[in-house]
Amino acid sequence: MTLFAVACAVIYPLFHTGRPWLAVYWLLPYPNTMGMWPNFRSPLIWDVFAVSTYGSVSLLFWYIGLIPDLGTLRDKAKNLWQKRIYGTLSMGWRGSARHWHNYEQAYLLLAGLSTPLVLSVHSVVSFDFASGQIPGWHTTIFPPYFVAGAVFAGFAMVITLALPLRRLFGLQDFITDKHLDNMSKVMLVTGLIVAYGYLMEAFTSWYSGNIFETYVMKNRLEGPYRWLYYSLLVCNVLAVQPLWFRRVRYSPLAIWAISMFVNVGMWLERFVIIPMSLHRDFLPSSWDMYYPTAWDFSTFFGTIGLFLALMFLFIRVFPAIAIFEMRTLTPEAKVKEPAH
């Protein structure tokens, strides 16, 4: 999910440069004939490093995690070409205890490295906005706000994808009520952090005494896009509140519906941050309205199509759940110390 989302997302910065073929040496530090190097103090370059590190480390983590399961698929495949392809990808994995010894360490390290990586990547992405001067952007709440928002949207997307798969492929034994409960709790907690972010933005707008900051909030509450802002509050703040109740947390349909609200809500949040802060900034004479064109809709739904197509391919070709990790949870996996 992460990898496919990054693949979809990376299309946009590339095309937004306007001249993508030049974006290579504007963004990537490589020795070129002009002797030019990027400006490493710029959040745009930090973003390039952060997102490419995130993409490559996620790819590595994903592939390393798949190796034992690719070995399983190689052994289960009946078709010769399937056997060859899975065999090549699994690198000859045979389940050797010596290999598991190193493997477990590497897997743990990758997981441990990925956590601060997620925190840093979303903070760096937030710097793209926070380092600008536009009122509504230039605020220190952004790094924690974006990280919490990312985890929030991420869990909502996992729920949106996992619950239908669970139902359609009969995976209730592996994605149990416990997982639903835990996912709902994380969604609730991060939703509350995001709600705190909204509260702080509102408070700072008033407390700063800065007319431009104050106007941002007024525009959100009374301006032409106010219905989008109210929808945002309903979707991100109100819609997750039922998750306080255990009955709701154990109902797959309820959780899925809430996750769809959150998906819409997070899209609205990005709309509130970007077009709503940009369309009315410092100088009233440059105020205008943003209306999407047919191309905006087509690239948006096309990107969703790309993401879904990749997900469909993935579930058909690779195991959707880590088989070897599930095996460690079976009763036969418990070993005990010998009585000396």
């Binding site: 190097w37 490493f40 399983t72 045979r94 050797s96 190193n102 493997y103 590497a106 390290l109």
Partner: protein, 184 residues
């Protein structure tokens, strides 16, 4: 490859067990008996078995990861410092050329990138993977059951204490369901 001691094409003896507990007990007994050139095969990681087989040595992957991280941090710092101070200095907002606080995000990302790749690729290298051929795949029972539900212990012919008949008797005595000969 190990030097063959008895029959010319024997890699070792592969014993099959019913559960992880039986395999663990057998591995411990084999270790106590003095066998060192051996390996256990499980469909999922069992820490206790891995510790016995690796003779309680710690994995070297964390060290490789640390070295990778340090190299990454130094490389990242070298990249930003050299380009910003020497190769292509830019006056951005009057900041000094060696504006290290502004360089932190890039250096941090380089550290994580190098550390992660060192851990991943280091693990593969330490495991000597990719290894498309291994003698143990010659055993039909291993091919069918190995990755799904099989618990195997292989004592290699290269071990000093290996003896075709006596080792086979020893393995049977530990409770093996079956003992296979592994062609090299």
């Amino acid at each position: 490859m190990h030097a063959e001691t008895r029959a010319p094409e024997l890699h070792g003896l592969l014993a099959e067990y019913r559960s992880a507990q039986e395999l663990l007990d057998a591995t411990r007994r084999a270790h106590a008996e003095g066998f060192r050139a051996m390996d256990a095969y499980t469909p999922y990681p069992v820490e206790e078995i891995a510790e016995v087989v690796c003779d309680h040595h710690r994995s070297r992957v964390p060290l490789v990861c640390l070295i990778g991280g340090v190299v990454g941090a130094l490389s990242g710092w070298a990249l930003v410092w050299w380009t910003s101070s020497i190769a292509y200095p830019l006056n951005i907002g009057g900041k000094p050329y060696n504006s290290w606080p502004a360089f932190i995000p890039v250096i941090f990302e380089c550290t994580i990138l190098f550390a992660a790749f060192s851990a991943g690729i280091g693990m593969l290298a330490l495991n000597r993977l990719p290894e498309p051929y291994h003698p143990v795949f010659n055993v039909g029972s291993f091919r069918e059951r190995g990755s799904r539900e099989g618990y195997f212990l292989c004592i290699e012919a290269g071990d000093e204490r290996f003896d075709r008949t006596r080792t086979r008797e020893f393995l049977t005595a530990t409770g093996a369901l079956e003992v296979h000969e592994v062609e090299a």
